[in-house]
């Protein structure tokens, strides 16, 4: 069932891609070229849709996929994704290394580490090492945009 949903999503991706390709603005002097800005993307999009249909046809009788992961682990993945989102947003107002320390703390905690010595060593050690190595040894500045 989930595999079929994935195939539907892939087909939808291909169809959406083809719609976007149709909206590419062509220069008047290249519109009549054998291969212009739209040609290859159109071929790729059509081929993807055909390949997805062929895969759906080929696996119509098979069970399709392995058993899915446990709910608890999916929740863990959702937490990690949320943490990364928070890290990305926090870069808008926090220093990179502070945000990285926060991300590491959240991720280590989510993964189940509870020894404070390890948590602090990782969350402070890595950002500090990165700061010294990247900004002081390699003299790189990180202008985020």
């Amino acid at each position: 069932m989930i595999f079929r949903l994935l195939l539907v999503a892939l087909f939808g991706f291909g169809a959406g891609y083809l719609l976007l390709v149709a909206q590419i603005e062509l220069d008047p002097w290249s519109a009549s070229d054998t291969i212009n800005s739209r040609t290859l993307p159109q071929i790729y999009g059509v081929l993807l849709c055909v390949a997805v249909l062929a895969l759906a046809f080929a696996r119509r009788n098979s069970q399709g996929s392995a058993p899915g992961p446990a709910k608890r682990k999916v929740r863990r993945l959702a937490w990690l994704s949320a943490l990364i989102c928070f890290f990305i947003v926090s870069l808008l107002w926090l220093n990179l290394w502070v945000a990285l320390a926060g991300l590491l703390f959240g991720a280590v905690w989510t993964m189940g580490e509870r020894r404070w010595s390890v948590i602090w060593a990782l969350c402070l050690g890595i950002p500090l090492l990165g700061f010294v190595l990247i900004e002081h040894v390699l003299l790189m500045t990180i202008p985020l945009s």
């Binding site: 595999f3 994935l6 891609y17 976007l20 390709v21 590419i24 603005e25 062509l26 220069d27 290249s30 070229d33 054998t34 291969i35 212009n36 800005s37 290859l40 993307p41 790729y44 999009g45 081929l47 993807l48 390949a51 997805v52 062929a54 895969l55 399709g64 996929s65 392995a66 899915g68 992961p69 446990a70 682990k73 863990r76 993945l77 990690l80 994704s81 990364i84 890290f87 990305i88 870069l91 808008l92 990179l96 990285l100 991300l103 590491l104 991720a107 280590v108 993964m111 580490e113 390890v118 990782l122 890595i126 990165g130 990247i134 390699l138 003299l139 990180i142 202008p143 985020l144 945009s145």
Partner: protein, 484 residues
């Protein structure tokens, strides 16, 4: 030529230059091990240091940095599945599974030996045929490139396992489609950018690699992939049984020659070489994981050496890295080209010999470190996963400096995790992405030259031969089926 080689040896083996090669190798390895920072970044970061040296010393050090960074990239590729550079992506296909099976030390040792072997073969071919190879490379033009790229894509699908053929085609197409995002390489039209300025230059390759391999791998581990066995790593991992050595020498030999030839072609570079070598080995070789690590490592090192041929002999950079090196040479007031070998033989031959010296240093410096590096994979997952997440995000940030790219990376990583979960191979996606621009650009150029006439390809024997080979391998699965 012998006189030139002796001049090169005399130049490269002065104490000062040997020390600069050693320093370059060490710095390159350390920088290359950081996800996102590859040979280009390593060379760019070392430019200020090189300016304080004389041209010979500076360029010799840069050769060491180049090799060191390529090897450093392999290390992160094998240990945490985070290839910082495109040319080490193929190494991770078998290197990372070896690490997960408790053979990280052996995988790293094989990578080091194969790199050394590839670099040695590359340096030898370079010494013997540098000038004549450059002339041959000039005959490889857009038609041949387009045919070669098409051939590479066909190989990926045709030679995939029977059950994975359609899945490989789908991920290859997804890669090709992602590669079309951004500005059209020839027409200049904005494509599929959704009006976002951040996408006008396309999706950065480092971002895609980090998303589909490093971050997606961390997600997969979080979803319950088993922990890598806790191996006891020692110097014994560096000793490879003689029977395996004999087998791997054959693999490394053919991969090195293939890598060098591809590396000589301007624009092809180490990435294409490593993918080709890996693919070739999986088809004609025994398909073992050891061979899967050896082939791309030998090929990418030989290709790195090969890319110096057009740079030194013609002044044409064969890859992004050699383009940066060209900039360094021009800054020194040197003009690479046919006259370099006659006007400044100590520099021409000094660089070539120092590449080999760099290889020797790389091997002797890195081998003792391998047992310590290999311990990284036996870290508990609850520490390894946060580290991989942090390093991959940092790697992309250090390359693109864009917060938008981090969000895109998360999206792609989640997509890749789902695809991997359902058994879709992700290597074709990366290959499709790499080849997308190369294919379109060369095909458009061919049609521009021929006024849109595909028959132009028939006038080019090399391109025609590659297209014939392409057609032949398409028939291969049908032949196999009828045989069985």
């Amino acid at each position: 030529m012998l006189e030139g080689i002796l001049t090169g040896i005399a130049t490269a083996l002065t104490l000062q230059n040997v020390l600069w090669v050693a320093f370059g190798c060490l710095a390159g390895t350390l920088i290359g091990m950081m996800p996102g920072l590859g040979p280009i970044s390593a060379i760019a970061l070392m430019i200020p240091v090189s300016y304080s040296l004389d041209p010979t010393g500076g360029l010799i050090m840069m050769a060491g940095v180049y090799y060191g960074a390529v090897f450093g990239g392999s290390t992160s590729s094998i240990l945490i599945n985070a290839p910082g550079v495109a040319s080490t992506v193929a190494t991770s296909f078998d290197g990372y599974p070896m690490a997960r099976e408790g053979q990280a030390g052996r995988a790293l040792a094989i990578a080091a030996y194969a790199s050394f072997f590839g670099g040695t073969v590359g340096a030898l071919i370079l010494l013997m045929f540098a000038s004549s190879l450059a002339a041959v490379a000039l005959h490889i033009q857009s038609a041949e490139y387009a045919a070669l790229v098409l051939f590479a894509m066909t190989c990926v699908v045709v030679f995939a396992q029977h059950k994975e053929r359609l899945a490989s085609l789908i991920t290859l197409l997804l890669g090709l489609m992602l590669g079309t995002v951004g500005t059209d390489p020839m027409g200049g039209a904005q494509r599929l950018t959704l009006g976002l300025l951040e996408l006008s230059d396309g999706i950065p390759f480092v971002l895609l690699v980090m998303a589909t391999f490093a971050l997606a791998e961390a997600f997969r581990l979080a979803l319950g992939e088993p922990q890598a066995p806790q191996g006891a790593f020692s110097m014994r991992d560096l000793l490879i049984p003689m029977s395996l050595v004999r087998r791997l020498i054959r693999v490394a030999s053919r991969s090195s020659v293939l890598g060098f030839i591809i590396g000589v072609m301007p624009g092809a570079g180490a990435t294409l070489a490593s993918f080709f070598a890996y693919d070739l080995e999986k088809r004609v070789g025994d398909g073992s994981r050891e061979a899967g690590v050896t082939a791309p490592e030998a090929a990418n090192n030989a290709a790195s050496t090969g890319s110096f041929v057009p740079l030194l002999s013609l002044g044409v950079p064969g890859s992004g890295t050699s383009a940066v090196l060209l900039g360094v040479m021009l800054a020194y007031g040197l003009q690479p080209g046919p006259t370099l070998v006659t006007d400044q033989p100590e520099i021409f031959w000094g660089i070539i010999v120092s590449m080999y010296v760099g290889n020797v240093f790389l091997l002797t410096m890195n081998l003792p470190l391998i047992p310590y590096l290999a311990r990284i994979v036996s870290l508990p997952q609850k520490l390894l996963i946060p580290l991989v997440i942090a390093f991959s995000l940092l790697g992309v940030l250090l390359t693109t400096f864009s917060i938008f790219d981090l969000a895109l990376m998360l999206l792609l990583a989640l997509g890749a995790t789902v695809l991997r979960g359902f058994g879709f191979p992700l290597a074709p996606l990366l290959l499709g992405f790499i080849l997308s621009g190369l294919f379109e650009e060369n095909l458009q150029r061919v049609l521009l030259l021929s006024d849109g006439d595909f028959a132009y390809l028939l006038d080019r024997p090399v391109a025609l031969s590659i297209l014939f080979m392409n057609a032949a391998i398409c028939v291969l699965p049908l032949w196999n089926r009828s045989e069985s």
